[in-house]
Amino acid sequence: MAKSDYFQWAAETFALERIFEKDEALKDVKIVELCTLILGPATPAYLAEFGATVFKVELPGMGDTMRSLTPWGHFWKKQALGWLKEARNKYHIAIDVHHEEGKELFKRLVAQADVVVENLRAGTMDKWGIGYRDLVEINPGLIYIANNGFGQWGPYVERPSYDAIAQSESGMAWISGFPGRLPMKSGIWLCDYYGALKAAVGILAALHYRDRTGKGQYIEYSQAENIMRAMDWTWIYQGITGKGRDRYGNRDVAICPSDIFKSKDGELVALAATTDHQFKALCQAMDKPELAEDPRFLTNLERTKEENAQALLSVVREWVASRTWFEIDRLARKYGFAAEKVYSGRDHYYDEHFEVRGFKWHIDDPILGDGVEEGVAPKLSETPGRIKWMGKAVGFDNEYVFTKFLGLTVDELKALEEKGVIGKWADFIGRTPPDDWDGKSGKIFP
C-alpha cells in the first residue's frame, strides 16, 4: 500500500473531531480518590482521561494543598496551574473523613466504587477506620492502591516523600547532569508524574485480573522503587563491574553518537544514529563518508568505547556547529538519521504537529472558559482519551454526587453541611470558582 494512503488513513482514524463520537474504555470504572499533591491525584487523572468516573474527595474549605502550586505564585482565574493539570474530568467533592459521619459517607461511596486511590502516610487510613481492611469488608472486589515514597513497611516506612526524594534516594539525580558538576534534579516533578503513571498501570492490571476472576486486591505502591526500575542498565552494570554509574551530561554512553549539540544558529540539537545504515547516512550528510569505514567507528560497540566516542562526538559537534538547525533537519530527513531540536513550552505551544494530534488540547470549559492544556499521550483509535473539563472548586459537585450516587436529599445535604461533615470552598485563592463565575455554569445538579 502506498505511504500517502497510510498517512491519510491514520489522520482519519485518529481525527480529533471524531473523538467525542467514540466510546470510552474505562467508562464503567468508578474511582474514589483521597489524595493530595501529585503522586496520588495524577494517578486517577490519567484514568479519567480514558473515561473513568473519579470522585476526588477533599477536606471542606482549603482542600488539596496542590491548589496552591503554581509557578511563582501566578494564578490563572484563581486556579493554580499545577493543580489544574491533574483536576481534569474529575468530580470534586468535599468530605471531612475525620468526622464519624464523614467516614460513613466515604464508605458508602467506596461500596459502589471499583478503585480507591490514596497517598497518605502508611497506615493512616487504617488508623482512621477507612483503610483497606475496613473497605474490603463492604466491597470485596475492591482494588485499593496506596501511593507513597517508600512503601507500607520496611526500615524507611516513617520517612515522608516527594518527587525529589525519590530522585535523590534512587540515584536518578546523581546520574543526571554534567560531569564535574553537582547532581541535577529534574526541572519537573518527574517521579510524581511518572510514578503516578506506573501506579495507574498497576490498577489497570488489577482491573484486568478482576475481569477474569472477580477478585480485587491491595496494591502497595512506592515511587522510589518505581524510578529505580526505570534506571535502565544502572543496576546490572554495577553488579557486573562493581563500579558506580556517574553522570555524562547529554551524552549517551551506551549509544554513539547520541548527544545534544549546539548548531550554528544557536539551537540545541539532539542527534543519534546507530544502525549501519543510519551511521553511514550521517557520515554522508556530514560529507565525511570515510568515517563510516574507520575501524574505530564500524559498530555501535566500537563507537561506544570511550576513546572512540570522544573522537567521533567531537567531529559531530564541530559539524553541527557549522550548520543551522534547518539544514541539519533537512539532511536528517533526507538521509534518515535522528535529529531534533530541544523543544521549549513555546515550541510545543506553536507546533502544528502537537496541535493536530491534540497534545495541545483546546478546551471550552463551562466554568473557566477558554483554556489550553496538555492532551492525552497514547492515542487509541476506538476509545480515544479526552479532556472534558478542567477543574472545579472544593466541593463543587457535592450536590450532584451525593444525590445521584448516594441518594441523599437536598435537606440531608444541608444538615451534613451544617455539621461540617461535607462542605464547599473557603474564600481563598485556588479553592474558589473564578471571579467571573455566574453561580450556575458548570453545576450539574440542582
Binding site: D23, S170, Y237, R247, G345
Partner: protein, 442 residues
C-alpha cells in the same frame, strides 16, 4: 472478617511481601504479546511490563539479533548481549524471524493472528508498506490490540515529513520539553558548556514512552473484554514524557513566557531544593507554612520563619537564593546522614505539626548499600544459566496482594526459544526450522 487486631504494617507485609510472590497467580497470564520492536528500548520496556504481569511475550528479532542488544555502556558485552537489553529481555521468549523475506512476513502474520497484542517501533507507515501493519493484521485478527511506538507518531504533519528518521531516546527527550527546563541556569559564573538544557541521565524518553504504551494497551484490553474489539494505538514517546512536564503548555498559554532552567530550585515550591552537606548533597523541603515553620525550628533559626512568611514570599526568585544560603549555613555543618537523622527525630516528635522531607542524593552504588531495598526485594541477584550472576531490579513498585508482578528470568540468547515457540504456536518441528534457517528466514 478481616483481621484488624494486628498492626497495619505487619498485616500488609504478610499479604504482600515479595517472599510469597511465586505462590501467587499472575494478572495477565491469559495474554500473548508479540514484540517486534527493533533498536528501541521503549518497545522492550512495554513488553517487559506486560511480561512482569504474566503475559507470554514473544520477542521477535532478525536472525542477527536486535540492534538494542548492542546498546551498552562503553561497548561492554555479557556474552552476546549488552546491558540495556539484558535488563529488558526479562521473562520473554526470544525468537528470530526475517521480516525482509516474504516467507518471514507470512509466518509473522500467522503468529499475529494468534496474539492479543502487537508492539512495534517501525518508522511511521513502514509496517503498513511491508504488508504487516495494523490494517493488514486486523483482518486476520479483529481482536488485536496493536501498538506502534515512534517519536513522531503515526499522524500529524511531522509524522510524514520525518518518516525516514529513527526513534532514539535523546530525540524523544529533546522533544518532550523537560531538558528545556532542566539544568544549570544562565548564570555567567557557571561554565558555558554545562549551562545548557540537560536530559535525564537514564533513557527516560524511552521508558516514559514504554510505560504509556503499556497503559494504552491494558486500557484497550479492558475495552476488548467488553466489546470484543481490538484497536490501534499510536504512542509517541515525546508526548508520553511531556505528560510529566508539569504545567508547561498551560503556563505558556497564560503567561506567554518560558520557565527556563532553575538548577536545583523549583518554580512552584520552595524550599524544595538540593543543599550541600559536609560530605555531599541532600534534598530538603519545607514549602507549606507549617512545614516551613518546622524546618526553621529544626535549623534552630525561628527568626527566619517570619522573614519569609508565605508560600509566595518563599517562591519569590529574589528570596530563593537567600533562603538557600540560610539552609546551607546550617546543612554544611552536618553530614548527610546526620541531617537525615536530625530531621527524622523532629518529624517523629509527638508535638510536631509540620513535616520536613529530606534525603541524601545517592550515588547509585550507595543506594545498593541500603537495607530498605534489599528487605523489600527491590533488587535481586540471580544465577542465570546463560549470562551468569546478575544483579537485577525487580518490578517492586507495585506490590500486589493477589497478582504481584515478577521477574522470572533475565534474558535469552538470540533465537533461543525458536523451537519451543514455533512448535507451540505453529507446529513447526526441527526439520521445518532447519529448512527456514537455510533460507535465511529464521
Amino acid at each position: 472478617m478481616v483481621d484488624k487486631t494486628r498492626p497495619w504494617e505487619e498485616w500488609i507485609r504478610e499479604h504482600d511481601d515479595p517472599e510469597h510472590t511465586l505462590e501467587k497467580p499472575e494478572a495477565m497470564d491469559d495474554l500473548v504479546v508479540l514484540d517486534v520492536s527493533y533498536g528501541n528500548m521503549a518497545g522492550l520496556f512495554t513488553s517487559s511490563i506486560l511480561s512482569e504481569f504474566g503475559a507470554f511475550v514473544i520477542k521477535v528479532e532478525p536472525p542477527q539479533g536486535d540492534l538494542a542488544r548492542k546498546f551498552t555502556p562503553y561497548g561492554l558485552l555479557c556474552k552476546d548481549t549488552g546491558l540495556g537489553y539484558l535488563n529488558e529481555g526479562r521473562n520473554k521468549y526470544h525468537v528470530t524471524l526475517n521480516l525482509k523475506t516474504e516467507e518471514g512476513r507470512e509466518i509473522y502474520k500467522e503468529l499475529a493472528a494468534k496474539a492479543d497484542v502487537v508492539i512495534e517501533t517501525f518508522k511511521p507507515g513502514e509496517a503498513d508498506e511491508m504488508g504487516i501493519g495494523f490494517r493488514q493484521l486486523k483482518d486476520l485478527n479483529p481482536g488485536l490490540v496493536y501498538c506502534a511506538i515512534h517519536t513522531y507518531g503515526q499522524f500529524g504533519p511531522e509524522a510524514e515529513k520525518n518518516r525516514k528518521k529513527p526513534d532514539y531516546d535523546v530525540v524523544d527527550q529533546a522533544r518532550c520539553g523537560i531538558p528545556a527546563v532542566t539544568g544549570e541556569p544562565d548564570d555567567p559564573d557557571i561554565p558555558e558548556e554545562v549551562r545548557a538544557p540537560t536530559k535525564q541521565g537514564n533513557w527516560m524518553g524511552w521508558y516514559a514512552g514504554g510505560c504509556w504504551a503499556a497503559f494504552g494497551i491494558i486500557t484497550a484490553l479492558l475495552w476488548r473484554f467488553k466489546s470484543g474489539k481490538g484497536q490501534f494505538i499510536d504512542m509517541a514517546p515525546p508526548e508520553g514524557e511531556a505528560k510529566f512536564c508539569d504545567y508547561h503548555i498551560q503556563w505558556y498559554h497564560q503567561a506567554k513566557r518560558l520557565r527556563g532552567r532553575v538548577g536545583p530550585y523549583d518554580s512552584a515550591v520552595f524550599p524544595y531544593t538540593f543543599v550541600k552537606t559536609s560530605d555531599g548533597v541532600c534534598f530538603i523541603s519545607g514549602f507549606s507554612d507549617v512545614n516551613w515553620a518546622h524546618l526553621c525550628n529544626i535549623m534552630n533559626k525561628p527568626e527566619v520563619k517570619d522573614m519569609f512568611p508565605t508560600i509566595f514570599d518563599r517562591l519569590n526568585p529574589e528570596n530563593q537564593p537567600k533562603i538557600h544560603h540560610i539552609i546551607e549555613e546550617w546543612s554544611a555543618r552536618l553530614t548527610s546522614k546526620e541531617l537525615e537523622e536530625v530531621v527524622m527525630k523532629h518529624n517523629l516528635e509527638p508535638d510536631a505539626v509540620g513535616v520536613v522531607a529530606t534525603a541524601k542524593v545517592n550515588w547509585p552504588l550507595d543506594a545498593l548499600g541500603e537495607d530498605h531495598w534489599w528487605i523489600r526485594k527491590t533488587f535481586t541477584r540471580i544465577e542465570d544459566p546463560n549470562y551468569g550472576e546478575l544483579l537485577l531490579v525487580n518490578p517492586a513498585a507495585n506490590k500486589m496482594t493477589e497478582t504481584p508482578p515478577r521477574l522470572k528470568w533475565a534474558c535469552r540468547p538470540v533465537g533461543a526459544d525458536n523451537l519451543f515457540v514455533y512448535k507451540k504456536f505453529l507446529g513447526y518441528g526441527p526439520a521445518r526450522l532447519e529448512e527456514l534457517k537455510s533460507k535465511g528466514v529464521i
